[in-house]
Each structure stands twice: as structure tokens, then as C-alpha cells.
Amino acid sequence: MNRIARLFKLRKLFLTVILLLLLLLIPLSISIGVYRATLLDAFKLMLGDNSIPVEVRAALLLRLRRVLASIAMGIVLGVTGTCMQAVLRNPMASPFTLGISQAAALGVAIALILGIAGSVQYRVTLISNPYILPIFAFIFSLLQVSLILVLAYRAMLSERALILAAIAMSFLYQAILSLVQYLALNELQIAMVVFWTFGDVGRVDWTALKMIAIVAGVLAIYYMIRSLDLDLISLGDDIAYSSGVNPKRLRLEATLVSAFGVSMVTAFAGVIAFLCLVAPHIARLVVGSSHRYLVPASMLVGAALLLVADDIGRTVVSPIILPVGIVLSFIGAPLLLYLLLRGGG
């Protein structure tokens, strides 16, 4: 049937266009900034050409790292948002609705109180400076996820009750964080916590980038394999079970995988929560809700959106670099509103 063939072709066309756009954005993002390089320099860097001067190369490599970090994190945040919306059957769900960002921020504050943000030595193991805050953020996010899972499976809470419980816990974490800030932290430490919650891709170093890239790859494969199952679970537990998918197991598995990915991103880059909400909805408005197309589309939209937001953050009030979390909300919110109004909600 021609109309169906055209529908599938259109969806594939959108995926191809946004992929090409993303590939084009890479050299463009590398070339813009305080030091203006040419697109040719950017291409040369990407192709490993050694003819560019060393100082230019060093500056561009830093930008390349930012660009790749934005793409990897955009993929993780975009796809986990889509997945949580499906398994919790709630368009407002995202891994952050489960209280991960607040838990992570609390972890950072606690690391600062304990005075171990510099380095920790335990017997012969020395964990050095840059990873202490991420590790605390990561541990606290995972603790929150475990708590959510216990609530879901031991107390048998429904999806809605689960979101409500998670929101309640987020407020509790926020209250503890405020209390800690009020009573125990000095101005510098408060500034560190606040700055950490802004979300900034510049903090991701090469090691962190490699870890996030691996996580992004694993998540992409996992969700592509599970795409039809995500279609089924979003229709209802009974219909999913009847078609051979165990909804409880899928929900557990998908929540764990998503939470792990998001905790990793949050630990290294801070809170970039809005992307989880905005990327899936923009993707859905264009390719529809079939996860076979929605999963790759939300990964690509997430990556492109985060990259553009970071480019704007780097250039709009240059030489000051604005944290990407702030810029993203400035671009994402009006964009989502516009698409919702245009698409009739």
C-alpha cells in the first residue's frame, strides 16, 4: 500500500536528515568560539591531519571533547526520557522525575561536608580530586533508584503512585540539601553545589567521555532491541503480557538501565534534566510514537539539541561560557511550546 510505504519512508527521511544535520554540526561547533577557526581546520582535526599549528590543535581538541560529550550525553538523556515515558505510561515521566537529580545534588553536598572533595585515601587506595564529587553524585542517584525499585516491587505501587512517591522524595532531598546548605556549608561550598547543579558539558574529561560514550552505545542497542516491547508496555500491562512481554520485568530492567545511564551523565556533567523531557516530545511530534523510530529519533534530537545549546552557551555572551543546562531550558521550553501549539497538543 503506497500510503504506508510513504509513511515509513518519511520517518526514515527524518532520521537521515537529523543525522546529517548532527554530522554537519560537529565541524561547525568545533570551529566556533573565542578563537575562531575555519571549518577546514575542524575537518583537518577530525581527520587527524597534523598540519594545523599545535596551539590551535590544543584549543580545537578541547572543543572536540565538548562536542562529543554533548552528543553522547544527548543520546543518553534523550533516549532515557522516551523510555521512562513508555514504561511509566506518563508523558511527564523522565529519569529525573524519579528524583535522581536531587539525590545526586545531595550527594555532592555531603561530599563537601565530609571535606573529601579534594582527595580520599583509604589504606592504599587514593581517589584523586576530580572524581570524588561524581562518585558521590553517582552513589546517591543509585541509592535513590534502589529505593524507587523497592517501593515499586515490595510495596507494589502503581506507576502513578510511584511518580508521586518519587516527587515527594525529591522534595525531601531538596529540604535536606537546603538544611545542609543553611547549617553546614560555607559560601564557597554552597557556590560549588549550586554551580554543580547548573549542568555543564565542559566538566567532562576524556576518561569520563569514554565512559559516557560506552554507556550511550549500550543504551542505544538495548532500546533498539526493546523498541517493540516499549510499544506494547505503553499500551497497557495486560496487552503487553498477553503478547508475550513481561511488563514488570521490562519496567524494572528499563528503569535500571535508564537510571544507570542518567546517573553517570549527572555525576559528570551535573543536572541537564530538561533534555529528558523535551527531546522525546520533539521527536514524537515528528516521527510519531512507534518506538522503532522514536528511539533513534529521540537520541538524535537529544544530541543535536544539547550540542546547539552548548554552542549558543559558548558564543552568546563570549568570552563567558554559560552552563548548558541554563541555555537548554531557554531554547527547549519555547520550542516545545511552539511544537505543542502547532501540533494541537
Binding site: 500500500m1 500510503r3 504506508i4 509513511l7 505510561r89 532491541i225 523498541s227 517493540l228 516491547d229 510499544d231 506494547l232 505503553s234 499500551l235 497497557g236 495486560d238 496487552i239 503480557y241 498477553s242 503478547s243 508475550g244 512481554v245 513481561n246 514524537r284 511530534l285 510519531g288 510514537s289 512507534s290 522503532r292
Partner: protein
């Protein structure tokens, strides 16, 4: 042995007994109506047959195998369940929705053959023209046909329908029931459906089971069990059964 055998099944929702000591046999190609007032256990029985609900006592056998001991995929190839409601998601096209019914046969992604089958069954329920429409835009009758097409693409031997005529106008009610009768005849499909309308059950089912408070009140050939006494006890309503018209009308 019968295609579906239910033996001494008891199902509980926490401490509330929803089904109590239910036993019945359904042969291949039969159309069975599950009847009874609201809350009598009709939907629970359908879900128990499909293995969605686990009985605390007794067992359900499909083609001589215990449904709970089969793999979910294997069970899904044999039995399709058509629920009364689904969670409607915006942006899902009819083709995307119906292809989810192929899940038991799909390992990774739907193939061209799966899509062809979807179109074939959409044609069968006279809904091919709706394939690229959003499921939120369909009328009640159109959506019911799509739900049935979704169940059929798994090419099951048994189809369980939960009140397939609810919320439909009379024209669509007849169209859906005619479609079910056609399926049973042409595809040798075994049909178990819960119904509220006793006249429809009388006209389309071969066998009926009357449930009352989770227990079987009457069961057997439709002509034998569809009588005024049974209806009055089960529903608490006086009714006139007219065998010549195959109709039941309440008398107030």
C-alpha cells in the same frame, strides 16, 4: 481433550475471591459467551485463560499444556486477548498499533512479511484504509475492528474478547459480531467473549457460561441455559426469552 480446559480455578484479588471453583471445556472452533452482571468475574475469567492472572487453585490447559508452564511467547502464539480498554497514546498509527500483535513472532524488528500480514488482516476487518490514521482519531467501531485485527495478526487458535460490543452503536455491534462469527467459521478460530447483551449471546454463541459472584451458575449449550429462571437468579431481572426470535427482553 478440549482446546481450553479450565479445572477448579480459584482467583483472588488480595483477599477477595474473584473466581471460585470454575471448571469448563471449550472445543476447537466454538464460540462461547461469558455472561453475568458487572463484577461477576467475566474479565477475570478471560485473563485467567490467557495466563495474565494466576489462579491460587486449579489450572488452565491450552491444547493440553498448562498455560502458566508455557513460555509467554508460546502462549501468545496460541491465544490473543482483546481487552476492553487500552492506554491510548497519541502519535501511534493504526499500522504501528496492529503490528504490535505480531510480537510473538518477531525477534527484533517487524519484517516486510509482518507488515504484509498486518495489511492482510486490516483488509479482513475492512479497515485497510485506516492504516495510516492515528489511533486517537478512530470512531468506536473502527477502533474495535483494529483491536480485532491486532489480535488476528498473531494468527492464534484462540481469541478472547472482553465486551467487544461495549460502547458501539447497534450497527457496529452487529458488524463486529458478524465478523467474529465469520472468523470462527472461516479460520476455525475458538472464541471466548464476555457480553452484556443476552440477545447477542443467544444469536451468536454456541455455548454460554453464566457467572454470579465468581461462581458458575449455569453452563452449557446456549439454547439450554438461556432461560428466564437463570436470568432472574443471575441478574435479578425478570426477562422474557423468545426462542423463535432468539431474543431476550427484560420485563419491568
Amino acid at each position: 481433550m478440549a482446546l481450553i480446559r479450565i479445572q477448579g480455578v480459584e482467583v483472588r484479588y488480595n483477599s477477595v475471591k474473584a473466581l471460585d471453583d470454575i471448571s469448563m471445556d471449550v472445543d476447537e472452533g466454538e464460540i462461547v459467551a461469558v455472561l453475568g452482571p458487572n463484577g461477576s468475574g467475566k474479565t477475570t475469567l478471560l485473563k485467567t485463560i490467557d495466563g495474565i492472572l494466576k489462579p491460587v487453585k486449579g489450572s488452565v490447559y491450552i491444547d493440553s499444556k498448562n498455560v502458566l508452564q508455557m513460555g509467554r511467547k508460546e502462549a501468545a502464539k496460541l491465544v490473543s486477548f482483546v481487552p476492553q480498554h487500552i492506554n491510548m497514546v497519541q502519535g501511534v498509527k493504526v499500522i504501528d498499533f496492529v503490528v504490535t500483535g505480531r510480537k510473538p513472532h518477531i525477534d527484533f524488528a517487524p519484517t516486510t512479511r509482518d507488515i504484509e500480514l498486518v495489511l492482510k488482516y486490516l483488509r479482513y476487518v475492512d479497515a485497510e484504509h485506516l492504516a495510516d490514521r492515528d489511533i486517537m482519531e478512530l470512531s468506536g467501531g473502527e477502533f474495535q475492528r483494529i483491536l480485532i485485527a491486532r489480535a488476528l495478526v498473531a494468527e492464534p487458535r484462540i481469541i478472547l474478547l472482553d465486551e467487544p460490543t461495549a460502547n458501539l452503536d447497534i450497527k457496529y455491534q452487529i458488524a463486529i459480531l458478524n465478523l467474529i462469527a465469520k472468523l470462527s467459521k472461516e479460520k476455525k478460530l475458538t472464541v471466548v467473549m464476555s457480553l452484556h447483551d443476552l440477545t447477542q449471546a443467544y444469536r451468536y454463541a454456541e455455548k454460554a457460561i453464566f457467572l454470579n459472584n465468581g461462581r458458575v451458575h449455569a453452563m452449557g449449550k446456549i439454547e439450554e441455559v438461556m432461560n428466564e429462571e437463570v436470568i432472574e437468579i443471575v441478574y435479578g431481572v425478570k426477562a422474557k426469552v423468545m426462542p423463535n426470535l432468539r431474543a431476550v427482553i427484560p420485563i419491568t
